[in-house]
Amino acid sequence: MNLAIFLLALFDGVAYAALVFIVALGLTLIFGVMRILNVAHGSLYAIGAYTTVTLTGWVLALGFAPILAFPLMLVSAVLVGVLIGGPLEYFLLRRIYDKSEVLQLLVTFAVFMILEDVQRLVWGTRPYFDSSALQALGNISVFGVTYTVYQLILLPLIAVTLLLGMRFFLRHTLTGKLITATTEDREAAQSIGVDADKVFLFTFIIGAVLAGLGGALASPTTSILPGMGADMIVLSFAVVATAGLGQIEGAALTALMIGLGRSFAVYLYPEFSVLVPYLIMVVVLLVRPEGLFGTPSARKI
């Protein structure tokens, strides 16, 4: 393996990792704060992608410039977060916070099943493809290999921005501090006047927006078709568990490991590329049972 190939694999891995991270970030955030592993996150991802393609299709059909696809991604993500994520938390999840982990997870699984069919009813089974956004940014050539600026530069840039932004938000803003406080001790936070319900709703919407954003950002690079949510969610699970539950830095590192592992596998042993995320998860948890960035919780007796 020469240096050029090594670098190519590195670029591919980073581009892929960026997308995985954006989706897993939302899942990690929701899990960290609410302790709910949201299976429906995968559906929100898919719906984000579908919405983006539909909106972009409309707007471009009206004759606007393709560059408009970028703001439309944000619009779609927010729509998904507010119109689906919000009611989901408010009408459903709120009722099950006192139930066991298993039941909470199953509720989101039921929502996932329902949303899978909703997607099919709304968008049909035909694959959609709209790469206006990606084409608007053009290509870049590295070692004679053409990459899209969108995947090689924009996606990693967004991922890093989101990581830093989320860290800043949680540590240095009032809302962020409220979220962190509620995460650490819900009762204590409530006793000093924090409205935990509001914090949960807000967190869930942010998480859902991130899922939608992941889908929106993925939409110009892939065919959008039924089943894309199921694949993404299982990968995100691997990221969240490997990272250490609720650890956003861990999620970033894990996404990077998975992205690089997968792309190096494609270059060296293509047949192993599917195995990579799960092998990483098993190996990491074997060595660090609480995940990469997790801390063991000693039980008080």
Binding site: S223, Y267, P270
Partner: protein
Amino acid sequence: MTNRFVKRTVAAMVAGALPVMAIAADKPESLNVGMTTFLTGPASVFGVPARNAAEILVENINAEGGINGVPIDITFIDEGAGAEALTSEYRRMVESGSAEVMLASISSGNCQTIAPLAEDLQVPNLMWDCGTQRIFEENDYQYVFRTQANATPEMLATVLYLLKTNPDFKTIAVVNQDYAWGRDSWDIFSTALKAMKPDVEVLAEFFPKFGSPDFSTEISRLQALQPDVILSTSWGGDLDTFVQQASQRGLLNSSTFVLPLAESSLERLGSALTDGHIVGGRGDHYFLHPDRRDDEDFQAFMSQYEEKTGEVSVYPVFHASQAIAALTAAYDKAIEDNGVDWPSEDQLLAALEGLTFQGLGREVTIREDNQGIEDQLLGTSVQTGDYPFATMENIMIFDGDELTTPVGENSLEWVQTLDASMVESVTVDQYDN
């Protein structure tokens, strides 16, 4: 149920005792047909057009009085609900008597499951779309017939077209979906290529997961390798994604793509599929079929279909038409041969042997091993501006007979015995567009 059972038992006993004497059946109120097709899942890009086509065709037949006055009643089973649901619904349909004839199926895996099941249940089953060549090579069936070709002629025609149009290429890479079709089609393609042009070097073999949303890494690797030809037998969303991403990153300019199933993706790919790539459609299927496009019935159906679905026809539509054409032709033949109002099951099976029929494409004949002989159409993509997507030029239609593995032989072994002379000797009709 019991009625049917008694009828069958009696029929079997009598048929055993008096092999020459044929028993006619009463004319039923309707001919119940079950069709398995993907209504959900990624393969619904094939399944839904096929269902739409079948509905139109059955409607048309019934409008003209059905088969000898008996209307066809067709019900669909979703292959997308999984093998479990499929087999149980298939059984239920047959055992409860709500289907006399079955049309199954799309997925090769499902075909492998259903063929022995149909044999067990003793129900005539027309395989209308499955690709695997193994069905009749590994087993003998009495109740199972295939109304189209299989992977072997489809891949052979592709190799021949490639060698006829690009005789000098040196290197090839493959990106196929990771499941039976992707693997088997590459086995046949590579074996045939090795037999006819042994000096070709295979630079890379990729089998990304079925339904993969992203081929960026494979494309980077292919750009670094720069093969002359890139083969992909993928279809549906996978093919769309692969070609779109390759197009965006300029891979379509540096390598010739060979896409034996791209006919079904032409409309969706739009302008992404540039000029000069090889396109096939699993048989002689193309909405601008050069032999057929001037035919009135063909035109009538095409406009009927477009009106109903808003899309142009793709090969599963042709395959559905062939299955239904085979069904009506077999009943007509059985009725005529036996001079009855309505044929018994055995008479129907006898009529299916060696049957010749015509759907939307050219005529198809069912061979003695129940395999259909179907011609193969390939062409080269071109953006003419007449349509908002690529169409085909330099079309060749290969004679199916010469490309189909002889009865009783194994495809891979037979393909190994071929050589370069076939490129010249094969019977082919050429058209400009």
